[in-house]
């Protein structure tokens, strides 16, 4: 008969229709703003700048070397180097970025800036809640909006952050061994100071 397959299909959709009212596990939809999926460690959205300590201007790892600006395929990064210098994460006197803007309407989340950064200063965020009512200025993130603490980084990519911290600590130790004359390392390892930009991490799962 001609309608056999149609009847089978109708039975299947009817099973779905009534089943969705009976068994909750059929409805896999996550009610987004209230419920969120647990964050995935390997996820990435847009880049952010890591800083150590509590002061985002003082602890910023970026030295304004502009490698990421040059490597960025869609050219969404704008960096202006500072005139003066300040001690970096390792303790050397370095420039710092006077301006660091990322246009996330242009950014394609390729992570190349992260790959090329020799200072582990730029990392990928997982935050996707970036809606704004201004599609030009609202999507052009400046240095302050980009700066996120090392704790936040630990929260979103624990494994990776641990490796980075270990490498940085090793480098710092090496630098200290080379220059014992230097005074205390300027950047303390992750402190417990409250950070303004840090957001709840991990997400409340349903």
């Amino acid at each position: 008969m001609v309608g056999e397959g149609i009847l089978k299909g109708l039975a299947e959709t009817a099973r779905n229709f009534f089943g969705s009212y009976v068994s909750k596990e059929r409805l896999t939809t996550v009610q987004y703003p209230e419920q969120r999926l647990p964050r995935i460690e390997a996820a990435r959205s847009f880049p952010f700048l890591v800083y150590d300590g509590s002061d985002w201007q003082q602890g910023m790892r970026c030295v304004g070397c502009q490698i990421c600006e040059k490597e960025c395929p869609p050219k969404c990064i704008l960096i202006e180097k500072s005139k003066d210098k300040k001690p970096d994460a390792v303790g050397k006197q370095q420039f710092y970025p006077a301006v660091f803007d990322i246009d996330i309407s242009v950014c394609m989340s390729c992570q190349i800036c992260v790959e090329v950064c020799p200072f582990d200063a730029i990392k990928m965020d997982v935050d996707v809640d970036l809606p704004t009512d201004n599609r030009f200025a609202g999507l052009l993130l400046d240095k302050q909006q980009l700066a996120k603490s090392n704790e936040y980084y630990h929260g979103i990519h624990p494994t990776e952050a641990a490796a980075v911290d270990a490498a940085l600590a090793a480098e710092r130790a090496k630098a200290q061994a080379k220059k014992p004359a230097a005074a205390t390392p300027p950047a303390a390892p992750p402190s417990a100071a409250p950070v303004p930009e840090a957001q709840p991490v991990g997400g409340e799962s349903k």
Binding site: V2, I6, G9, N16, F17, S20, T29
Partner: protein, 394 residues
């Protein structure tokens, strides 16, 4: 007690006559018409709003989703949000479009869709005009829809619109023939083209079994054919080739935006509900209750319950079946539905002339089942595929 139920059943009629009491006698026919028309023009768009919500919810549940659930309780205010959105959107008319025709097409479509409700009895004594040729009026008005579809597709000056309109017209013409032929059996049996008379013919019960035309072999087949043709006629899935969003984006109304787009949407749903209402009138006993012990429930409640049930059927089909191909669509119309409708008329004649009893049932069932099986076998046979030859593209 029964008096209360009769009052409840006739409440709208009573209210209308109460209103007419305030009007001088000379104006009464005009005011009566205006009251009826205004009721239809308010009630059915309201139902349309409800049906869009119902459809989105139902489709969502069939795909294990929630459907709209943000605007209002269970997303019930979603249609209002949609209406506000479509009203505030910019009305874009293509520069090359034929402005007058482009404007008239949705207006004509909605007008024709509303006119169809004039002959559908939604309850006891509740019909706008009891035309002597009501069913013919319904189909005549339905044929105007094709013209508005053509106007929309042609005036937009867009390939997609024109292709969509051509598809829609070809499909509507092909399926209008079986639609009319499927309803002819009812007209033969009822001996009238008046929708009120057809509903009256289906009144009464044998035991608790209603005398609806759908509960006869020819009526059942006629109902199935009518509903299939109605699905195609209202361009709904699986016959939604004119829309075919993956091929021609949205068909004939692609160049419409804002409120005109909403009018097309409204017209499409009004058409679907009108054909469902006609199917109810022709086959499902109109506003009659399915069981005699439920007859106390007002007649219009039954009509709208049946309407919602049929619409749920449309939604169910839409949630289940994939879109057909153009050749499948046409083959189905001309090789299966049309011959079945013709056979069905023969069966209705046999039913009319045989004495009532078991043999009549057996003969008629055999007479419908045989062509159905044979035609479906013919439809299912493997087609020999051969290299396609192109006339112009070589």
């Amino acid at each position: 007690m029964t008096q209360v139920f009769v009052q409840l059943d006739q409440i709208f009629v009573i209210v209308k006559y109460w209103l007419l009491g305030f009007v001088p006698a000379g104006w009464q026919p005009l005011v009566s018409a205006i009251v009826s028309v205004v009721t239809v023009v308010i009630a059915f768009p309201a139902l349309f709003a409800l049906v869009t919500w119902f459809e989105r919810k139902g489709l969502g549940r069939m795909q294990n989703r929630y459907g709209p659930n943000r605007a209002g309780p269970a997303g019930l205010f979603q249609p209002i949000a949609d209406a506000i959105k479509s009203l505030t959107k910019e009305d874009i008319v293509p520069l090359a479009a034929d402005h007058v025709v482009h404007f008239l097409a949705p207006v004509l479509l909605v007008t024709a869709a509303f006119l169809a409700y004039a002959v559908i009895p939604v309850g006891r004594n509740m019909i706008v005009v009891n035309l002597n040729a009501g069913v013919l009026f319904f189909f005549a008005v339905g044929s105007v829809v094709e013209l508005s579809v053509f106007m929309a597709g042609w005036s937009s000056r867009s390939k997609y619109s024109l292709l969509g309109a051509m598809r829609a017209i070809a499909q509507m013409i092909s399926y209008e023939v079986p639609l009319v032929l499927a309803s002819v059996v009812v007209i033969m049996q009822a001996g009238s083209l008046s929708t009120v008379a057809i509903v009256e013919r289906q009144a009464g019960y044998t035991g608790i079994w209603p005398h609806w035309f759908v509960f006869t072999p020819w009526g059942f087949v006629g109902f199935a054919l009518f509903m299939i043709a109605a699905t195609a006629e209202s361009n709904r899935s699986p016959f939604d080739l004119p829309e075919g969003e993956s091929e021609i984006i949205a068909g004939y109304y692609i160049e419409y935006s804002g409120f005109k787009f909403a009018l097309f949407f409204l017209g499409e749903y009004l058409g679907m509900m009108a054909t469902s209402g006609m199917a109810i009138t022709l086959f499902l006993g109109g506003w009659a209750a399915p069981f005699p012990f439920l007859a106390w429930i007002p007649s219009y409640v039954w009509f709208f319950l049946k309407l919602l049930a049929l619409i749920f059927g449309f939604i169910w089909i839409r949630g289940t079946l994939p879109r057909l191909r153009m050749d499948q669509l046409m083959n189905f119309a001309w090789e299966f539905i049309l011959p079945m409708a013709l056979f069905n008329m023969l069966v209705a004649g046999v039913w009319h002339f045989m004495p009532p009893g078991i043999p009549r049932w057996l003969v008629c069932i055999a007479m419908v089942a045989t062509p159905c099986i044979l035609l479906s076998m013919r439809l299912k046979r493997k087609k020999k595929l051969q290299l396609r030859t192109y006339q112009f593209a070589e």
